[in-house]
Symmetry: C2
Subunit: 378 residues, 2 copies
Amino acid sequence: MKLPFDTAKLDRLMAEADLGLVLAHTRHNVRYLTGGYYYHFHANSTRMSRSQYLAFVGIPRGRVQEAFYVGRAEEHGQMEAESLWIPGRIEAVRGTVTAAEGAVKAIGRLGLTSGRIGVEMPFLPADAWLALRKALPKVDIVDATPLLNELRAVKSDEELAILRTVYSGVAESIQAAFRGSRPGDTTREIARRAEREMAERDVSFLFAFVCAGPGFLRAPSSITWEPGQVLHIDAGGTLRDYIADICRMGCIGEPGPLAKELHAACLEVQAMVRAGIRAGVPCRDILWTGEDAARRYSFSRYARFVVHSIGMVAYEQPEFSPDSSRTLEQGMVLSVETDFLHPEVGHVKIEDAVAVGETGCDGLGDTGREWQIVSVTR
Amino acid sequence: MKLPFDTAKLDRLMAEADLGLVLAHTRHNVRYLTGGYYYHFHANSTRMSRSQYLAFVGIPRGRVQEAFYVGRAEEHGQMEAESLWIPGRIEAVRGTVTAAEGAVKAIGRLGLTSGRIGVEMPFLPADAWLALRKALPKVDIVDATPLLNELRAVKSDEELAILRTVYSGVAESIQAAFRGSRPGDTTREIARRAEREMAERDVSFLFAFVCAGPGFLRAPSSITWEPGQVLHIDAGGTLRDYIADICRMGCIGEPGPLAKELHAACLEVQAMVRAGIRAGVPCRDILWTGEDAARRYSFSRYARFVVHSIGMVAYEQPEFSPDSSRTLEQGMVLSVETDFLHPEVGHVKIEDAVAVGETGCDGLGDTGREWQIVSVTR
């Protein structure tokens, strides 16, 4: 049976963390471990009555074939239609505590009523935690969020294909949102347009920061976009819970000379950073390269450079800190952001992602990086 | 200051539950208590790095003017742009535990370090609960989910206006999804079409059950819709977290006589139930009326009747149980569902909502209840 994740890596990470079981329950990690499955009825909202929908995927160390899934009876049809690989299935009535009780039952069957179990502590409902705690008094329940972030750090070809698709979709949606905008539109209207354009492309909308310059308010609001002003759309969307996060620049009419310089500087910094990205390079070198590149301009005091991993979670693994000696691996995906927050022009920003390769990197959704010009007269 | 919710009712409910403070943190209850505000960047996804975004709204009993909000520094611009009414603001860095620590600080300032505090237990992250537990050892932390459901039970005119808008949007989206469908389309394609149609209408997609009959698989799948088959689209969407949930029937070509009878029976049951809905009527009477009405057909063995409240949560308050003596109040909103799961025809279903009035009720999104016919030949 070909599983959707690297079982050897999971076993190794669990051994290092001394975990007997990983018990995942966030939508993204359920999807990651099942290869895409999540109960569609609750994929966009879990709340219902006095509780919420909760599903668990449990994977015992070294015994992936004894993995279990806790869900609702109503999911049966979808599980069959989507050929869920997990053979052990526990049905629970709706609610967080009943789901936890279902997990307890499965854990008991596996004989894992002592030792360490990893859950997703920042996401596990408190009442479900209490139910696990009470029913498994000899178990040490610890946070497996970092472990799961690490498990997802290197993307498979299938995952890279999904990321390419969602990055293309978001890049195109942003360009279409610029094309559809007119002088006097509010940033709220422009954000909604980006949302609709994503839906057209079967991308789930996450957010759209829209900032008309000069001025730094990025939250969609009643502020209008007027001739001569630069505007950025920094938008996110997902496909099967894989995130794309892109920022592009536009202007009503021709941007001024300083705006053009700031934008050119963003692209230049991005290019210098990309030139250094390949497997084997220390993560901190990427951070240094970007920070150093952003420091070379007369307007560098307004610069900000950020690089972070992205996949199902933004800022997952690897982490980019000056004191980490970790190196890049083929299949990691990095989001690279260069910003200049200039008081006279506004917030000029380019954000893109690249997939790390053996000898270099590939841009994802690399379209529309040039100025998106909206006519003054229409 | 006009607040978006009934402060007297909240104080009364808190007194009954002996709560000194309500500490809300779900997106829907934050929006309810703030009058619509939620940090837009995390409105569709909270996960980030090793934790998730978490905001708190705290309201001390009898001292609404001392309410507090715990969020991130980055929210400042949006708060100002949307005139958030809550004056006390605590900034926390990203993460569940830091947010809880921010709440602890505010609770200390209010002098509420003993007594009972109500949180949303099925939603509160376990690590945030542990942080509250540790920092407030003399506080009894209890579940306020039922209290908040009760607080929202009666909708204001502003809320009814939002519900009317989202119900109209979902009803129109379903009809448009039928119009856009062709023989041979998969139920997955039809569900996606409903999603795109909602986005066009600025409705956030929740779910679409699509069921081609005969056969009862409602999860979107590769099953195709073929001439002569009935199909239901049972779809949900939200606007500002107010939910609309509607089911409509379609057929490729003219439905057969039995399908027509089943559909007519759905409408008949709905009409009989609606005739009994007005302020002052016991909730259980509505349940009995529907169950009784659905029992009068030769095919009644396939019937299912459900009535539940709806607003920001499906199945909120009031609850409809045979042993409850609670009565309807003006401004409550009920979702009424009549289904026939007929082995020869398929799953025939109509679901609609009504707003309870003094002398009757008003349908929300009452369009497209007739058969939505798709041409066999195109």
